[in-house]
Chain length 339, copies 2
């Protein structure tokens, strides 16, 4: 058997931790992780995992635990796979800059993140690298190094289409990753079109995440208040129109399926949870990049446009609260004639 591949995970939240654990469990790669917030705890005690798939595991650690991407880079390890499962905060921590120190010519990057168009900044910075799309349907969270996985791991892998790399190599990389990741417990499957899959996810995320984030409710109360029919469904129709103009035909019943996705649950979408916690939101990944595409394709999206403009103000507030932007102590008087 050849040397094992080197796998690096950046962003060990509930999803990422189970991914790193899985590959370590499979013995299919040497596993390294970059841990920032919980570094000291994890270094000393490892993770406490309570998993519907793997049971209870106390003090789990992979081969290497790094405090930063720079430290991972200094290790001299050439990473074959770099999986990123941080929040995608393009306007705060661009993924392409975050991972730059560890990317080498042969690295395959795997974005296990929400959103649309998130591969584009990577292709711009690393034109020859393969970038895989990982859409996770797991239910798992990380609270200070305690991982609680409530829902079995189901990961959908595709290759984002890099025009500079031949298609076969990209598909082969996706399949190698699936082989490395799969076992007899989880479900890790190949899906041919990352683009289709991510448009399909946007029908939910670009419409329900955004509306719930702005109004401060879960999807159940959104429906009870009339906002599902008044706001979210018209927004979904705009996503479907952009997809169509971009060559992606979504199923006829997609709106119905999405509206029933949380049946029985007062579910708070991730962007709503971020606003509630005072964290920045994945605004570009979940909405902004879609609107860039809509503009290029000359599709009108008046509802999504206004949701985006409102959320841009919310993001400003969240960035200020987290120290990313500031305002002068006394409000400056604008030297503008507004009209």
């Amino acid at each position: 058997m050849a040397t094992k591949p080197e796998f690096l995970l950046i962003g060990p939240g509930g999803v990422g931790c189970i991914a790193a654990f899985t590959i370590n469990y499979n013995h299919t790669a040497n596993v390294s992780i970059v841990v920032r917030r919980d570094y000291e705890t994890v270094r000393k005690h490892g993770y406490h995992i309570d998993s519907v798939d793997y049971g209870k595991v106390d003090g789990w650690k992979p081969e290497n635990v790094f405090a930063s991407v720079e430290e991972a880079s200094k290790s001299g390890i050439k990473f074959d796979y770099i999986a990123v499962s941080t929040k995608n905060l393009q306007d705060i921590v661009p993924v392409e800059e975050l991972i730059a120190p560890v990317v080498s010519a042969h690295s395959v990057v795997v974005l296990v993140q929400n959103g649309f168009g998130i591969e584009k900044p990577l292709f711009a910075k690393f034109p020859q690298n393969i970038v895989l799309s990982g859409v996770s349907h797991i239910g798992s969270h990380n609270r200070n190094g305690h991982i609680h996985q409530m829902q079995s791991d189901h990961l959908v892998i595709s290759a984002f289409e890099n025009p500079n790399v031949d298609a076969d190599s990209q598909v082969a990389a996706a399949n190698r990753f699936i082989e490395m990741y799969s076992n007899n417990i989880n479900k890790c499957v190949y899906f041919a079109s990352a683009k289709w899959y991510r448009y399909r996810k946007l029908v939910y995320n670009a419409c329900l995440n955004t509306t719930c984030a702005l109004t401060g409710v879960d999807t159940g109360r959104l429906e009870a208040a009339g906002g599902l029919e008044a706001i979210a469904i018209p927004a979904m129709k705009e996503v479907i129109r952009v997809a169509k103009a971009d060559g992606v035909e979504l199923p006829d019943d997609v709106i119905n399926v999405v509206c029933h996705a949380d049946d029985g649950d007062y579910f708070e979408p991730s962007m709503r949870v971020d606003v509630k916690k005072g964290n920045p939101i994945e605004l570009e990944a979940i909405l902004g990049n879609l609107l860039d595409t809509a503009r290029k394709l000359k599709v009108e999206t008046p509802i999504l446009d206004l949701l985006f403009k409102l959320l841009t103000v919310v993001q400003f507030r969240l960035k200020e609260a987290n120290g990313y932007v500031g305002v002068p102590e006394k409000r400056p008087i604008p030297d503008t004639f507004f009209k």
Copy 2:
């Protein structure tokens, strides 16, 4: 001199309390107030007033303090003037129902409240009564019976045009009220068109209150985040178009004046403050009634429409938090095919 008129104030907040105090100070009417939240305190100790206009007054009480409108009604007093300075929460506490027990044929109602179209439900219920518009430019608040007035009283009085009452009587009633209210300290002036004045106020309120309420910022941060130009100004243009279709020409520089209204201040509009405090918002008065008028006049208002739909969901959340609406413990599964 004839018998003094009977004046009743409902809603003794910062604005209303100074109004009642003023008329009592002027000895131009017998003053009664309905106090709900602070009834016991006010009954025993009166109000503590710290006023830029009248100085410090300890333990002020008018002739009558009632715990409810019903109690005021049971007193047998026939009120000549009924001033209402509660929040205008048309969808929760309709003013016409609130005041019904004390309205008699000759009562003049004075709405010292934010908003547009707020006279219509009163004309529907009391077709023969005169309803005056009071727009207050005071700075004053009430914290548990302590009134702090920071900004001199400036009240603009007009008659809402009741088509069932001759115009001269309405103007005369407005002038009688002004005479009763004015003194050598305050400023209480007549303005011929309530409609014009309230459209003018909506250029600010329907656009800045709403946008700041949804995004959780003050008007300074709204500007810093780009939301003034991206959202609020386009919304103002919609208000101006509705006004124009309704026969009201606003000045050419109104947008500029409104955008500079808070120069130097990080000002939180009242609707933003209500959301922050978890109180219901004046949604119909500040936006909903305007959109009803826009529909009748066939003026398109896409931005204001979406702001209204979003705020309807926010209002649902605020109503739930205040016990006005509820949802089942387990989310019901909708028996709907969404499309």
